[in-house]
């Protein structure tokens, strides 16, 4: 276990493998398949202040190396998560989780995080700044260093838990946004969220997804994600959780060499429900193969020399 241990803001994880928000629900469906206590931790379904049904269907479009989703942050709202989902999870999962938070105003992010701060089951608050800023013309918080910093400060003011900002890749340059979050007090960063994408149905000649566009994820985005993790890790000192198309133990090692302190696995869970368990089991052999004694010592290795 020691060889795969990693640390996020003082929180020791048995391994760096973390199912990503929106691909693991609140854990219960997976707990029926395997003992999810093998996970480093996991990021729960994105939570907003009020319940949300989300977008019309179809919400999913297939791609050769991934999929596009436009779920629209469907979730039962923070109070239901605290009253029902987290207590239910506690019966099958002993570790703390990452609470993923969405919002449509600075105040909403802060209020949702303030409520989640009360739960001992939450180890890290993961703030998704890819949502549209409804008070300011609907542009995503995550495309502006100022807006991302504003959310970071507002959330930091209401919680003692580590705050990790989950960044959008749909920007010209992700580095200034990462730095703005760091300067605003973020304890860590998570990247990347999905890439904006689209498919058209040749039979109907209309977009496949009801909302026309959606977030592209899966193996196809791994090189883009890895590049952005590498660039951000050059520029910041806070820990980065790398994600985007990670599907194998070797992908985990690549992400960590690029600088990730831990790694999230998303779309792979939807295709192979046992993906995270398999990746965790494959890690020691993959480390052996490439002569790695411990994961902590390879973090950022690709930046040297």
């Amino acid at each position: 276990m020691g060889r795969t241990r990693v640390t996020l803001s003082g929180w020791e994880l048995d391994n760096p493998v973390i199912p990503a928000s929106g691909t693991f629900g609140y854990g219960l469906e997976f707990a029926e398949l395997y003992d999810i206590n093998c996970l480093g931790t996991f990021s729960v379904k994105g939570t907003t202040l009020a319940p949300r049904f989300g977008n019309p269907t179809p919400r999913i479009a297939e791609c050769p190396a991934g999929l596009i989703n436009s779920v629209g942050l469907q979730n039962p709202g923070v109070d239901h998560v605290l009253a029902v989902e987290l207590p239910r999870l506690a019966k099958v999962y002993r570790k703390k989780v990452i609470a993923n938070v969405g919002g449509f105003s600075v105040e909403e992010y802060a209020e949702t995080c303030r409520r989640l701060d009360a739960s001992d089951q939450v180890g890290i608050l993961e703030v998704n700044v890819s949502c549209p800023n409804v008070d300011h013309g609907g542009m995503s918080f995550g495309v502006s260093p100022q807006a991302a910093a504003q959310v970071t400060k507002a959330v930091k003011a209401v919680t003692k838990k580590p705050v990790y900002i989950k960044l959008s890749p749909n920007v010209t340059d992700i580095v200034p946004i990462a730095k703005a979050c760091e300067e605003a007090g973020a304890d860590g960063l998570c990247l990347i969220n999905t890439l904006l994408g689209m498919r058209v149905d040749l039979k109907t000649r209309r977009p496949v997804i009801a909302n026309r566009m959606g977030g592209y994820s899966g193996a196809g985005i791994f090189p883009v994600a890895l590049r952005m993790v590498y660039q951000v890790c050059e520029a910041v000192r806070i820990p980065v959780i790398g994600m985007g198309g990670v599907s194998t133990a070797e992908d985990v090692l690549e992400m960590m060499l690029a600088g990730a302190a831990a790694v999230q696995v998303g779309t792979a869970n939807l295709i192979d429900p046992w993906a995270c368990k398999r990746i965790i089991e494959d890690l020691p052999a993959a480390m052996e193969r490439y002569g790695m004694d411990s994961l902590e010592e390879i973090i950022g290795g690709a930046h040297h020399g």
Binding site: G22, T23, F24, G25, E29, F30, E32, L33, K45, F53, G54, N55, P56, T57, P58, R59, I60, E62, C63, P64, A65, G66, L67, N69, V71, G72, Q74, A210, G218, N269, L270, I271, P273, W274
Partner: protein
């Protein structure tokens, strides 16, 4: 839900567009008619959700319509090939409420899951009435098979080339039944729901991501809250269905 590596026993066309695939392997996870399998098709990211037509201890029969590249690849699979499937997905039909003479209404490729339902109902000593709607005579599925189970079978086709000309809803008022089960395209389900005189269960179709309840790709609003068609469905109670615009 279980993951099973099935062996294809048979994969043959039964109409111009619909194929029958018989898979040999463990079916222990299938607990009710109307459930589905999610098949891994080599070369494709997402699994293909296909409803169970029928099953026994060691095999499961699927009827699927070749609609796009994924189902074309399925049709190209050969007997003896292995198929990775997540099996026993979805809630399936509840036969407990059927009464003695339930009506089973199928539209097109929505017909297959009703066959397994009909078999279970017959085993329970019930006398199901089956009403199937298709475009034309060449599309008709399972008519003889339903009759062989001892069900009373009615057919409707849009062009009148088999059975009654028109939609299933033209035949429904003439039938007496104790309960309704229906599976088919959304407009058919809605029309059947409007024409129904009893309680019932409707099986919905939606484009899915995972097929086991975690991605929220296939949600549908109902009177009892949001339901995941793959996990809380595909079968919904008539009384909880909302026909309004979703989203």
């Amino acid at each position: 839900m279980e993951q099973v590596l099935y062996t294809i026993r048979e994969n043959v066309p039964v109409t111009a567009e619909v194929w029958r695939m018989v898979l040999a392997g463990d079916t222990g996870a299938i607990t009710a008619p109307g459930q589905f399998l999610n098949l891994r098709v080599p070369g494709f990211t997402l699994r293909r959700p296909i409803s169970v037509c029928d099953w026994d201890e060691g095999s499961v029969t699927l009827l699927y319509k070749v609609l796009g590249h994924g189902t074309e690849a399925m049709a190209a699979m050969q007997a003896g090939d292995k198929v990775d499937a997540l099996t026993g997905l979805g809630n399936g039909f509840d036969t407990g409420k059927s009464g003695q003479r339930p009506l089973l209404v199928g539209g097109g490729v929505g017909t297959p899951p009703l066959y397994g339902l009909c078999r279970v109902l017959r085993r329970e000593g019930k006398e199901p009435v089956v009403l199937l709607g298709f475009g034309t005579a060449g599309d008709v599925l399972l008519e003889k098979e339903f009759a062989a189970l001892g069900a009373e079978v009615h057919i409707a086709t849009e062009d009148g080339s088999a059975g009654r000309k028109g939609f299933v809803t033209a035949v429904m008022p003439e039938l007496s039944y104790t309960y309704l089960y229906a599976c088919g395209p959304l407009p058919m389900l809605r029309a059947v729901d409007a024409a129904a005189k009893t309680g019932g269960q409707l099986s919905f179709e939606e484009r899915m991501g995972c097929g086991f309840g975690v991605c929220m790709g296939c949600s549908r609003k109902t009177k009892s809250g949001s339901k995941r068609i793959c996990k809380d469905g595909p079968v919904l109670e008539r009384g909880e269905v909302l026909w309004e615009e979703q989203g």
